[in-house]
């Protein structure tokens, strides 16, 4: 009896060790491995699922690691243990490109897939906010230009929206937004805060570091609440608190229009059409990057790229638009479609 148990345990251990050996021997991967941005994740997953269900290839595996984390994994090397594609909600940086090259990942194909609008929204129960980027900057920056005049910054004195701009309602400034680790926050800072800061000539004239200090630092006195990476949570909180304003991606506004409404920014309401035409100022491009060395090695790569860049996916009437992605104009789609079919390698950032 006892001997039997010992034998059983030995057998299990043996099977286990054997299966580990198999792992090491199994060098070919038969599915595409994708990492990267959590903003692109909801779109890339739809394409992957469609691709897996309509072809004989396995469904690609998609990890949501964030743009920076994805590029780090992607650039780690060439080989089956490294991802084939990384999604990014911003363009690759020069330093990341350099890192890629050092690890032998010299041939990367850049594919722009569309745009994502960043919206400010509040509950339907309240009136829509009519903001300008300058209002947002003054309400959210840690240090703002002295309201008494003069070319110096003071610690943000504004408590209510009315103090920022007399045409705004007299309610406390309460903004729920993404934390600094999020790509949405990076894009928000770049597209709203920096632009607004540049409208002050004397801030624009400052050197790069001092400018960033003013434009990138968001107040920490409780008016801006970091609500974590979960945008659904922000939507729920807005529904419960009509005085609060939230910052998140357009797809969450699109899915919850019966609860929340987008705020006007510089006079434009964040609708699908306004973002697509470029009229709405706060939108950012979405990308993915393909490792050319893996084309033909990992089965299905070409099929996945074709599915993603087909009109029925990324076109104006495609299923990605249904999910809330803003498509590119025709000419741009054509350009990137051609890049993909030729696998044009990204050589330098212009």
């Amino acid at each position: 009896m006892v001997r039997k148990t010992v034998l059983l345990v030995a057998a299990l251990v043996f099977v286990f060790v054997a299966s580990t050996g198999v792992v090491n021997a199994q060098s070919a991967r038969d599915y595409i491995s994708i990492v990267g941005s959590s903003t692109v994740y909801p779109f890339a997953t739809v394409v992957a699922e469609k691709f897996g269900k309509t072809t004989h290839y396995k469904t690609p595996k998609i990890e949501s690691t964030g743009s920076g984390g994805g590029l780090k994994l992607f650039c780690a090397g060439v080989g089956v243990e490294y991802p084939d594609i990384t999604n990014a909600s911003r363009r690759i940086k020069e330093s990341e490109l350099e890192n890629c090259r050092q690890n032998g990942v010299s041939e990367i194909v850049e594919v722009k897939i569309g745009y994502d609008g960043i919206v400010l929204a509040n509950s339907n129960k309240a009136k829509p906010m009519k903001l300008t980027r300058k209002d947002i900057f003054l309400a959210l920056a840690k240090n703002v230009p002295d309201p008494k005049g003069g070319e110096r910054v003071v610690s943000n004195p504004y408590r209510t929206w009315k103090e920022v701009n007399p045409s705004l309602p007299n309610i406390k400034i309460e903004v729920l937004g993404p934390p600094p680790t999020s790509g949405t926050r990076d894009a928000f800072v770049e597209l709203v805060m920096e632009e607004a800061a540049k409208s002050y000539p004397w801030i624009k004239a400052k050197d790069k570091k001092a400018f960033k200090e003013i434009a990138h630092t968001i107040r920490e006195d409780g008016a801006y609440i970091e609500a974590g990476e979960n945008d659904n949570l922000i939507v729920q909180k807005l529904d419960a608190n009509p005085n609060a304003v939230g910052i998140f991606g357009f797809s969450f506004l699109d899915q919850n229009t019966d609860k929340i409404q987008g705020s006007f920014v510089d006079g434009v309401k964040p609708t699908f059409e306004a973002i697509a035409s470029g009229e709405y100022p706060v939108s950012r491009p979405l990308f993915f990057y393909v490792k050319k060395a893996h084309m033909g090695v990992i089965p299905g790569m070409e099929g996945y790229l074709n599915e993603f860049t087909s009109e029925k996916a990324w076109g104006p009437d495609g299923y990605l638009a249904d999910k809330g992605m803003i498509p590119m104009p025709d000419a741009e789609r054509k350009k990137y479609r051609a890049d993909v079919s030729k696998l044009r390698v990204l050589t330098a950032l212009k």
Binding site: S19, Q26, S33, A48, E63, N124, Q255
Partner: protein, 430 residues
């Protein structure tokens, strides 16, 4: 004499008086003490009830799903005999819808009409045709899943009293849905896909099975490794090891490891299993190895406690009749300690089942549609699936999230119940 007698009586009375005087106060104190305890239990039960009510209230509707009845004519003109696997099945669904609503003409109107049916309908038809090409040319009526927006509307999650522009469904679509309801062509059925499918970005097609299988493989690896290693370590430390500074050091370390945050084990797994040994990312094998590291201290501590509770008389008796030390352990001590060890193991496993943080680092937080078939296939786990759904923009994922939590809770209840039954069945009191 008389004097001293009365004196004693007086004394006696005085003592009993003092006791009587304080008695009411002591009873009151005891009642208060009991009330504090009861209050604590009531508060925790209340919180638990709120948790359960909110989860069940949000999620119970997810076990049902709205289906549309379609009269599909498998048009030979649309289905090319040569290329059945790549034929235009969504075109087939669209043409079916057009015949159901012949009055729909405009392009944007048609698009609205197509949105009533889940994209899964096309996959369903494709599967049917590939399975039995004979049906081409025939008309078959079948139920296909409705789109998640329709499902949410029928389940009452959408406000319909707001303006058309702030609704997911237009007035026209609402009218169609009403018409279908009157014709009995829309109904709610048990959501089988939820228990048989893998993940999906379409809420009406998403299922928990892929994650459940991933969790199963992961936990199997964890169990196969951590139970033998944990028990062996506990037996050695408790029965054979000399008591010296080294074993003290080991003991302190084991107790310390039990309290280490699980993300640290994930980082360790990333560095050792993925980067050094080159195991595949996102595999249940690696997940199991990481969770083994995490549960080992728990199992060792529980197993040692179980061994300590076996009375020394058993050991001495066995040694007294001439058993060797190993015979004493294997024949007598281990069988008596096993129920306690199993309980500890199951509780450790239950904790491993609910763990996401270490899996994050080794790539198991991923979108995986195919149900894993082995230890090296990419997989996720149940709690990871909950996390991913909670973060999805589609409204229908809210109830899916709660339903997945219910499934996870059911598994946990099952495992902890098994631990209690094992203990009750085999436990010996001395």
């Amino acid at each position: 004499m008389n004097d001293s007698d009365s004196e004693a009586k007086k004394m006696e009375r005085r003592t009993i008086d003092v006791v009587h005087q304080g008695l009411a106060k002591r009873y009151r104190a005891e009642r208060r003490f009991k009330l504090y305890g009861l209050g604590a239990i009531v508060i925790s039960l209340f919180c638990l009830a709120i948790l359960f009510i909110s989860i069940v209230g949000n999620g119970y509707k997810a076990f049902q799903q709205s289906y549309l009845k379609l009269e599909v004519y498998f048009d030979p003109a649309l289905l090319d005999q040569e290329n059945l696997s790549t034929a235009d099945y969504s075109g087939l669904v669209k043409s079916t819808l057009r015949t159901m609503f012949p009055e729909v003409k405009g392009r944007s109107e048609k698009r609205e009409l197509y949105k009533l049916v889940s994209p899964g309908a096309a996959f369903h038809l494709r599967k049917m045709v590939l399975k039995d090409p004979e049906i081409i040319g025939k008309s078959i009526s079948l139920w296909v899943p409705a789109d998640d927006d329709v499902d949410m509307l029928l389940k009452g999650h959408f406000k319909t009293d707001v303006g058309e522009s702030s609704r997911r469904l237009s007035d026209q679509q609402l009218a169609w849905i009403e018409q279908l309801q009157e014709q009995g062509k829309i109904k709610r059925k048990f959501n089988k896909a939820f228990f048989t499918a893998g993940d999906s970005r379409e809420p009406e097609l998403a299922g928990i099975w892929g994650a459940a299988v991933g969790s199963f493989f992961t936990l199997l690896v964890t169990l196969l490794l951590s139970f033998p290693i944990g028990v062996a370590a506990a037996v050695y430390l408790e029965e054979f090891a000399p008591k010296n500074r080294w074993t003290d050091l080991i003991e302190v370390n084991i107790n310390n490891l039990a309290a280490v945050p699980s993300i640290v084990f994930g980082l360790l797994g990333l560095a050792v299993f993925l980067n050094f040994f080159g195991f595949p990312r996102s595999a249940p094998l690696v997940g199991g190895l990481v969770l083994t590291l995490m549960t080992l201290p728990t199992i060792i501590i529980a197993s040692r406690a179980a061994l300590q509770s076996v009375p020394p008389s058993i050991r001495e008796g066995a040694l007294g009749v001439g058993a060797s030390k190993m015979q004493m352990v294997v024949h007598h001590v281990l069988p008596l300690a096993l129920p306690g060890m199993l309980t500890g193991t199951i509780i450790g496993m239950a904790r491993a089942l609910g763990e996401t943080a270490p899996l994050l680092m080794i790539g198991m937080v991923a979108f995986i549609v195919d149900v894993p078939g082995g230890f090296t296939d990419p997989a996720t786990a149940l709690p990871v699936q909950i996390y991913l759904w909670a973060d999805s923009p589609e409204r229908a994922f809210v109830e899916k999230t709660s339903a997945a939590i219910m499934v996870l809770l059911a598994f946990l209840l099952l495992m902890n119940g098994a631990a209690i039954i094992l203990r009750k069945k085999f436990e010996k009191r001395w």
